[in-house]
Symmetry: C2
Subunit: 480 residues, 2 copies
């Protein structure tokens, strides 16, 4: 028999494999029926001007994988004892997903770069300014562990995290954030989202209530919703989460708050609200998740101590991250757990993910213990404080409208409330037309309609870009 093949000597896939794949395809689809004889390797080689070894290699692979059998002297035959042909005409399988999967309301994520390409000056949130990070130091720390002599990389690490890093974080948190914990209570996670996912799965049954702030953090809401939580939003004011207003009969057993710097509006929870929240948790047998995503980034006075330090009964779960203060692509965060929760958390963490990459953890541990981290934080505070001041000055200079925002100097962005009547979506579009990326505040509100507002991140831009961006934003206002 003749065999028509379509071979491309220039392709990345070697010729023997092209032959193997095409013959295999025909056998599977029934075009080479069971029992049919393949051309002699010599014949096929001559037909396509190939070396015979190319053809025999392909035949050997077909033989090894059980598509053909060879009979000495008689040649190579398609096996006749296979359950063939595969039903090639079968329609593509359309799966029925789990009830769980149907709870994901998150839109398909786009890569951040797709957004960035659209605009010249992007007030996107959560970016680190590339030139601030001490890459030389970082490279030196990484290289320390990248030697053949070191066996640190050739084993699975502990799912709880690299022990020296946990120790370094515990002592940093005690020193800088007023967190009271031992290294045992700290577990390293691949970003804060993972910690929220594990906590929700551990602490909440589907259908149960969870207290959240609004405006708040939509990525956290997604994790909670996906795990079946019913979100109970309380509107924040300039002092953050109004713990004293939690309804008496609220059955929530989990609350998610940002006490140090309310996300995204800004503002710190005063002591009386913190105490009221802890008392609520005691009364309701609830856990509080304290997301201290940028607690280090306050630009006046000492950073406020964490809520966790006030907790005497083990009801506060503290979340910290290196995304904001080192760089986002690092994907390293940590959670400080009450001792009653650390074992179940670690068990689940070990099941879903065997732990964070050791190399990065080792380098971060050295970065902290050798003082680079606190030095870097000092630089960040100076740089971001200036950028924030420049942004606010530019808003005052260029935009002659009454804009409202929380005054506390902290964080990487400012949430600006616009005068009533301004359409924030139209403003976002008009700004984009001027090459400026700003972000609609409605995304961050659980209660709709929300007052018109925009988010302006300043951490990825230099001072000239901030000024120019706001100048263009002013033009966008006039185009509404």
């Amino acid at each position: 028999m003749m065999l028509e093949l379509s071979l491309d000597p220039a392709a990345a896939v070697p010729l023997y494999q092209q032959i193997y794949q095409q013959i295999r395809g025909r056998i599977l689809q029934g075009e080479l029926p069971p029992g049919s004889r393949l051309p002699a390797s010599r014949t096929l080689a001559r037909q396509y001007g190939l070396g015979r070894i190319t053809v025999t290699t392909a035949y050997d692979q077909l033989l090894a994988e059980g598509y053909v059998a060879s009979q000495t002297g008689a040649g190579t035959f398609v096996r006749d004892d296979l359950p063939l042909p595969v039903n090639a005409a079968a329609p593509p399988f359309v799966p029925i997903l789990s009830t769980y999967a149907q709870q994901i309301t998150h839109p398909t994520p786009t890569t951040p770069s797709e957004n960035e390409m659209r605009v010249a000056i992007d007030f996107g949130f959560g970016r680190a300014f590339p030139h601030l990070f001490p890459y030389d130091t970082w490279r030196r720390l990484l290289n320390r562990y990248l030697s053949t002599d070191d066996s640190i990389l050739s084993r699975y690490g502990s799912p709880a995290g690299f022990a020296p890093l946990r120790q370094a974080i515990a002592s940093y948190l005690a020193r800088q954030r007023g967190v009271r914990c031992t290294a045992d209570q700290i577990i390293i996670v691949n970003g804060g989202q993972q910690a929220l996912d594990i906590i929700t799965r551990l602490c909440l049954n589907p259908g149960e209530e969870l207290l959240v702030e609004t405006p708040g953090y939509p990525d956290a809401w997604e994790v909670f919703r996906m795990n079946g939580a019913k979100l109970h939003p309380l509107p924040v004011d300039e002092h953050g989460f109004p713990a004293q207003q939690i309804p008496r009969n609220c059955p929530a057993r989990l609350a998610f708050v940002t006490p140090t710097n309310q996300f995204p509006q800004g503002g710190a929870m005063p002591l009386e609200r913190r105490l009221a929240l802890l008392q609520w948790a005691q009364h309701n047998q609830a856990f509080i998740i304290e997301d201290d995503y940028d607690g280090e980034l306050r630009y006046h006075g000492h950073p406020l101590a964490a809520l966790q330090g006030l907790d005497l009964t083990g009801q506060v779960i503290y979340l910290g991250t290196f995304s904001k203060v080192l760089f986002p692509a690092l994907r390293l965060a940590y959670v400080v757990l009450p001792s009653t929760l650390s074992v179940p958390f670690l068990q689940m963490k070990a099941v879903v993910d065997r732990g964070a990459p050791t190399l990065t953890q080792a380098a971060v541990a050295d970065f902290i213990t050798e003082g680079h981290f606190e030095r870097h934080l000092h630089h960040l505070r100076q740089a971001y404080s200036r950028r924030r001041a420049v942004l606010l000055q530019a808003l005052a200079d260029h935009i002659p409208l009454p804009l409202r925002y929380v005054q506390e100097a902290a964080g990487l962005h400012v949430m600006v409330y616009l005068p009533p009547g301004i359409d924030e979506q139209k403003l976002v579009q008009a700004a984009a037309a001027h090459g400026v990326g700003i972000y609609p505040g409605s995304t961050y509100h659980l209660l709709q309609p929300s007052p018109p507002s925009i988010l302006l991140g300043f951490s990825g831009l230099d001072e000239a870009e901030i000024n120019e961006g706001i100048r263009r934003l002013a033009l966008a206002f006039t185009n509404l």
Copy 2:
């Protein structure tokens, strides 16, 4: 009033913070009652021989955080409008965990190093031999991206993974594993466990059945169980998963198999079983998870093509990992999804974890596209093939008992079945007493009692260690 403090000038925590913390603690616990007056800063400074600025810094922090109020001329007072004292006598909170959490049966993980310290020669599974990995090349690739000019690290990456890495994997898989996919179908995950967790959550409702191999992979079982799956085990033989024996009425809609090299027993699924499995999936509207955890590591002939390449209807989910072929601490794996599943998978991945670290992904992408990966695989095959041969020869030389194992030369370990009547746990203990780490086979069996067996990983040991380890193991046999 006098205030008794316990201050330690040598502590890591600065003195002002010690003062702040101790006063704060007493206010919270009611020992400094509402309205009480703090000593004048001058007095306290004199009492403890401190600079006055140390005390005023502490007082300022207490003031900023709302513990005290100051009345000009009258001094500093504990606020009397706080909901205090916190109930310091309240017992530690004992949480009631979710039903979900109660499904975790995984024991608290111990760090691998704890095991390793016990034994001199450890036949542990899944280790990479440190000296085989080209650290110099790896360091060079990483450093390429560790420059201040590169903004790759200062943004969040795509949750699906770094695009050039997905492309590199797609073309590698086509070339080497017979996987048919585009880069769009590939999503980078933080280890295979994460992929299993997401797949189970997407595809299975609690209480539904899932087909697994026994002996098999306990870490996968844990993920499945935690997500409420009912495991339906089928015993494998030397040809892997007996797809033709799946009961007609089995309602499973998910199967987890290791067709290339059955874990942990060894053996490859022949074509007829692969076709039978695909036909079962079509008939039952099921997904098959193909765990190709070490498909590259076959030591005779070409690696067998993946099951995924036979799938015409989009029912095979392919899992690959870099843990075995680069190094475990890398924590990087990938999943090739049927197109019907790639969007929901990506949505969930984006919610639970914003993606893998960009730096590592960029370096692995270059490692593949520049040919280092396939060169490294070639070295690994040579090295591991030799170690496997040394192990089997040592077993034959030193242990005069009928031992059974699957002959196919592949993988990083050998599962050795012992003669009936030998107590594997006692053997493990006796081996440990001789400084040798071997691992009980019963861990890997879902159906108990299981035939006595042990797992011997050879990838972390050199040839002399393997010989010496088996010599000592022979002594352990005589001590039973």
